[in-house]
Amino acid sequence: MIKKQSFLKNKTLYWMIAPAVIYFFVFSYLPMAGIIIAFKNYSYVKGIFGSAWSGLQNFRYLFFTGDIYYVTKNTLFYNSVFLSVNTVLQVLVGIILAELASKSFKKVAQSMIFLPYFISWVVVGAFVYNIFNYEFGSLNTFLASIGQKPLDVYGNKEVWKYIITMFKSWKDIGYGSVLYLAAISSIDQEMYESAHMDGANIFQRIRFITLPALKPTMIILVLLGISNIFRGDFQMFYNIVGSNSLLYKSTDVIDTYVFRSLMKLHDFGMAGAAGLYQSALCFLIIVSVNYIVKKSNPDYALF
């Protein structure tokens, strides 16, 4: 009786939350059940639940070809590099912007650095083409104008690590430095004044006042980065590298691999297996990172 009353009293609230409940049921929980496709020999006609079971065949294939090792390695490698390079650059830019005195310079510079965040990866793909294209690229035009030989960037596996990292930073520095700048602006100015009185130079003030104050923001962002370390940025890799199979060994990440298996090879079972493998890794890393953080410093726990 009491239960019924509370339901009736809140009836409108249940109606109001219903769309979200249904949405997440359909678009998140149903696909979770659909991961059994990884253990099936998928046939479009029979659907996920009607298709025949195939045991671990999809996984065997996935690990047998060895592809899964290098895409996992690449995913881990790129995300670790992005995380470290971006954190250092974002903190650095945040600190410098906070210290500079000219308000108008700061404003203009910040806008310019923030702008790339708003551009789609498709447009970034156009930029990459415009700069590195062998025949007409601006880079080779420039090299020719100073009497150097043109570079064949698309035929060189090694340089893409740097190009991809460069564009990732290019796009994300503005976003991150805004976060750090906000954290800096909440520091009590008097701390700097009194440190100055005591004879601390600017580097000491940054080292002992600013950096410690940025620690919480830094830790949260790094933890978020680590929890997503097995998720490749599909849009970035797909637009910068494209479907250039020469470069797969050094630029293919789990997400592009799953996409290609699905959309180009139409191997639903194997793509599903690779997807499940990734989801499981993501889940494990998030839960364990959170567990460790909760044990050592509950303030930083993600959930």
Partner: protein
């Protein structure tokens, strides 16, 4: 604050200005290169390549682009339709969900919150989702396929919920005494008060929809409903697609300026974002900061 700068501060500030200036320059350089390339004569590009300052100025590519602008306009129309409807519908639904979740008298709010939050920890991945959309929901070639993926976002629900928590209960209580129902309180009282955070989250959602091409690539095959970014993607990456876009203008094929045309298309597709950017930037900054504190 007007004390004289010591030597260490001078060093830091000068190198700081130099560093930030170089960085800001590098951030704008690709934009400048693309704009310059789009106004360079095709034969100059074919001979000497792209450069920062056009060797031979020409607006031929733009002339062709605007000679037969139907498909470009259609792509713009699709993007605007998707962005506007997705953002408004999503904002309304996210706010409504957040409102229920922060109501202290809503008994199962924690269970529901976990139900939503869990989806950020574990998901079925691309394949089952794709099959669901295409085979079971039949959303191939439908605007819904592009709108639905961005409609809800758990983090926006969380941010919205913590914002609404700060609204004093007294407002809701007094409305209740006057006999207003929960939905009316939400719509007529809570929504207007939440305008600042709605604006911020709305901008992030609009940016997502404007820049999204992934769902279009997965689900749309009908060229006439391609949104802008996917249209641009096809022009850049598929020679046939670019050719047919140029051919629509009636210019004979051999003279087709495909290199400058690609870049002109990039400029036209990016233009609105750059124009709107100075006006909305501060809301994004505010949103990022709020999100970081509450996260």
């Amino acid at each position: 604050m007007s004390r004289r700068k010591s030597i260490d501060e001078k060093i830091f500030h000068y190198s700081g200005y130099v560093f930030i200036s170089i960085l800001a320059f590098l951030c704008l350089l690709p934009f400048a290169l693309v704009i310059s390339g789009s106004v360079t004569a095709e034969k100059s590009i074919l001979m000497d390549g792209y450069s920062l300052i056009p060797r031979e100025f020409s607006i031929e590519a733009y002339k062709i682009l605007f000679k037969a602008p139907e498909s470009l306009l259609r792509a713009y129309f699709s993007t605007v339709l998707i962005t506007v409807s997705g953002t408004f519908a999503g904002l309304f639904l996210i706010a409504m969900t957040a409102y229920v979740l922060q109501r202290r008298d809503f008994k199962y709010r924690n269970a529901f919150s976990f139900y939503f939050f869990f989806t950020t920890l574990f998901n079925g991945g691309l394949v089952p989702w794709y099959i669901l959309m295409v085979r079971y929901l039949g959303l191939k070639n439908s605007y819904l396929a592009v709108i639905l993926p961005g409609l809800f976002n758990v983090f926006y629900i969380i941010i919205m919920r913590s914002f609404m928590k700060q609204i004093p209960d007294a407002i809701t209580e007094s409305a209740k005494i006057d006999g207003a129902g929960d939905f009316r309180i939400f719509l007529q009282l809570i929504m207007p008060i939440s305008k600042p955070s709605l604006a911020t989250i709305g901008l992030f959602m609009a940016l997502y929809y404007w820049n999204d091409w992934f769902s279009a690539m997965l689900f749309l095959e009908n060229e006439s409903i391609f949104p802008l970014q996917y249209y641009l993607y096809r022009v850049l990456n598929s020679l046939d697609f670019a050719n047919s876009a140029v051919a629509a203008s009636g210019i004979p094929m051999p003279k087709m300026p495909s290199e400058s045309f690609k870049l002109a298309m990039t400029v036209v597709a990016t233009g609105p974002i750059i124009l709107v950017f100075p006006f909305v930037q501060k809301y994004f900054v505010k949103g990022l900061t709020v999100g970081a504190v509450k996260g």
